[in-house]
Amino acid sequence: MLAIDVDRLRKQFKVQKNREGLKGALLDLFKREHAEVAAVKDISFQISQGEICGYIGENGAGKSTTIKMLTGILVPTSGRLLVNGYVPYKERERFVHGIGVVFGQRSQLWWDIGVIESFRLLRKVYRVGEADFKRRLDELVETLQLQELLNRPVRKLSLGQRMRCELVAALLHQPSILFLDEPTIGLDIVVKTEIREFLKRLNREHGTTILLTTHDLQDIEALCSRVIMLDDGRIIYDGGLGELKERWSKGREVQFQFTAPVGLDAANAWTRGMNVRWTRENELTARVWIPREMNVSDVLSRVVGAAEISDIKIFETNTDEIVREIYKTGSPEAKEALRD
């Protein structure tokens, strides 16, 4: 069964155009000019129950807008949208019983009251029975280790503590789909890992479908079997993470540690005629990027013959770089290659 079914979904915003200068400002006072901006451009995808799916893209690619439509906050301009069997914006109050939402940058807890008070209030809002609530809360509090935090007001929590409380708040009513909008933003590595472990466990034990947006690709690598990549409101990739890496990893990098200082010109001279790219890290260290079709050993033999080397490291391109590359180049062919 499908948890999320999206078909040619589109969202356009009317944006005010501000004219320049004093004259423009005066004109704006009386007659505003508006421009239609499409944030999400006819995207389609399906997510099955129990899947963990990463939703990535640059800032402004349309990720948050999509999440807001999927959670019933925004009304789409056109397209079909079915989440958990509901059209989110139409039957909002009934629909949201089945979903949990965490926005990393905004709190859903009440700032001034104790954490436990917030949870109790949410129990009433979602009409969860007292016994169910207690069982669920105990389980969540134990896995996320929140025991000592429960009586503190939210404004006195650290970001990591708050984020763990946010997760509890989003899960108290046992939603079958969890939407996470940048859940690990600003967190330290320990908390990040904890949250990832928790999400994995949630997915394994309760079969919760998870859709998360993130800028931290380690979230994706740790959690997601599938990624959807968005660029300028369109889906440019939808598939497994391994496949993405394979198709896009364009080469490897080799780091050399020399015994004597080496300049970039000298390094370039060694590999003349080869399609490689040198970067210098410091006096004694330099990196060379080698495209996939070329043999690493060819480059190595030239460098080894020319300079004395104390250490060599070979790096496969990691997901971060792949994605950075896709964002940066943004060339139509590159995207075409991905789409087919």
Partner: protein, 264 residues
């Protein structure tokens, strides 16, 4: 569901208790206002028996009860809603199976209830001791007054909600909020009772919702409205309450459809 809304009232009540300094400073501000208006009106009356249909005694009572009523119906929901729209946190609240505007109204009511019990009731006792005012003897009049006070709160809250929701449609509605605040204080009769306005102004104000907030309930309380007029005053409030539901529902729908860009 009801119990969730009751909880919002309770929590706001507790929050008000937590911020005690606000509470104390509020008492001082209201005491100064009532005192200032009392002495001002005494100076205006001089030797005159009645002005604008008010005896001096009625005027003192009117000033005291109007400010006390204001303590109950006044809230900053417009500012709260507008801030939540501008910083985008309204989005979070929309993912809950509960009506956002209803939650806001309940929070406003929690605030009002707090001031009614800890502010207005003791305040009224103190005012009675210091200033010569005349409280109604008829328990029915008290009853009607409290019913009307409830509608004062509802209508004022509706106006606040509408003002706050404007943040969906304009980039900055600070100006509108200031305008509304002054309009309510001036045109609802807190600063100047309706009967002091010129004829033409009164004709216009009769068609605006503001008089239903202060002037009508205070007039009933001071005994200036009697018999059928009391029923009419209550009816005016009920009609305004019903009429204001329409633009609110419309704005809310339009807001969800149109602009929601703020805060990404």
């Amino acid at each position: 569901m009801i119990s969730a809304y009751l909880d919002f009232i309770r929590i706001r009540f507790l929050m008000m208790l937590a911020y005690r300094v606000n509470y104390y400073s509020g008492i001082i501000i209201y005491a100064i206002n009532i005192g200032a208006y009392y002495f001002m009106w005494r100076a205006i009356y001089g030797d005159a028996e009645t002005l604008g249909g008010f005896t001096a005694m009625q005027m003192t009572t009117y000033v005291a009860v109007s400010w006390m009523a204001r303590a109950f119906y006044f809230n900053n929901l417009d500012r709260e809603i507008s801030n939540e729209i501008r910083d985008g946190s309204v989005a979070v609240q929309m993912t809950r199976p509960i009506s956002y505007l209803m939650v806001k109204a309940m929070q406003g009511f929690g605030e009002g209830l707090f001031r009614l019990l800890l502010f207005m009731a003791p305040g009224m006792v103190v005012v009675k001791l210091i200033f010569p005012i005349e409280l109604p003897a008829d328990p029915a009049r008290w009853l009607v007054f409290f019913a009307m006070l409830w509608f004062s709160f509802v209508i004022n809250t509706q106006l606040n909600i509408m003002t706050g929701l404007f943040a969906f449609f304009v980039e900055n509605n600070q100006g509108l909020m200031n305008l509304k605040r002054i309009a309510i204080d001036l045109l609802s009769g807190v600063i100047l009772p309706m009967s002091f306005f010129p004829e033409w102004a009164r004709a216009i104000l009769n068609w605006l919702p503001f008089q239903a907030i202060t002037y009508l309930p205070s007039s009933v309380f001071t005994g200036r409205l009697n018999g059928a007029d009391v029923g009419n005053a209550l009816l005016v409030q009920i009609v305004w309450f019903a009429a204001l539901l329409v633009p609110i529902a419309w704005m809310w729908r339009a807001a969800r459809r149109r602009l929601f860009v703020q805060g990404g």
